[in-house]
Point group: C2
Chain length 148, copies 2
DNA sequence: GCATAATACTTGCATATGCAAGTATATCGG
DNA sequence: CCGATATACTTGCATATGCAAGTATTATGC
């Protein structure tokens, strides 16, 4: 295993799996939220009018359209998001971040920040963090998925 | 969003999602393998005697024990792995990499390398790759999950 | 030694997700 | 304008996964 691209891809995937596993437990216990639901809210909050179509969400989250449909249903019932039709195109069904969703996201963000802190704690200093941030920025820069 | 730990965690998760999505399509089409099945084989290949208990696999893959049980069943049927009991502890059921599994993994590794190459292509040079590798090595170093 | 606790694995049930097909609407070419 | 095609979303079905409970075996405390 000498190829640095392979090594980096493996390490990225494994690191992400570890972070995701930690987050899943915390989000579920503290907010009754899944990691993907958190990201859905993040994408909405990041969007111009706090709203996105389902296909846009699917692309940004790297999941299928049907997954978005089924994720949104319970979130809508709980009042975190609203459904909004488009005046010009009757096919579109926007998912809109509600006030309750915004509050929920605010709380979840704190948990995320805490976990992110724990994760890097004791292993990385500010210089490392800045270095990684700059490296990854080039990977996510072009992507519509970028949340940062 | 000023906390560099938060930014890095978000970018790591999103980057990994993108890589994983690409791999999933390729692995499924080319090898009839899921990304997690690939990692299971990688962990076995990485282990001292090409074998691990199910709980060890579960820990290293950040999945539940039941998931390992159910992942292994079809892989065993296809001959990629064998089941092996422990002489001292009758509870243990090792998963062993078979010759067929080793071949399969070899092919899948090539696909992985190709995809990893595409992913970093045009965006990163060797210096960047080395830098990231060094940064991530500290994150995965302590972990038993480390494949690199 | 033996009862209790811990560990390894499996299984029932519920949820999550993708793919393919179905429905509704919009766009395009003539 | 109209049929063919494309797009947005939903739904049926199959697979993947976690949690909790169940079974079998081993370790621990007395």
């Amino acid at each position: 295993m000498e190829d640095s691209r392979v090594i980096n891809a493996l390490r990225l995937l494994q690191t992400a799996d570890e972070i995701r596993a930690r987050l899943a437990g915390e989000f579920s216990a503290v907010h009754g939220l899944s990691v993907n639901e958190f990201f859905l809210l993040m994408h909405l909050d990041n969007a111009p009018a706090k709203r996105l179509s389902r296909v846009e969400l699917a692309k940004r989250m790297y999941v299928s359209a049907s997954t978005v449909t089924r994720m949104v249903a319970p979130m809508e019932k709980l009042g975190m998001v609203d459904r909004e039709a488009d005046a010009r195109d009757a096919r579109l069904a926007f998912v809109v971040l509600s006030d309750a969703g915004r509050r929920k996201l605010g709380e979840a963000r704190e948990t995320f920040a805490k976990q992110a802190g724990y994760f890097f704690e004791d292993r990385w200093d500010e210089d490392d963090l800045t270095q990684l941030s700059q490296l990854l920025s080039r990977l996510v820069a072009g992507s519509a998925s970028n949340l940062t």
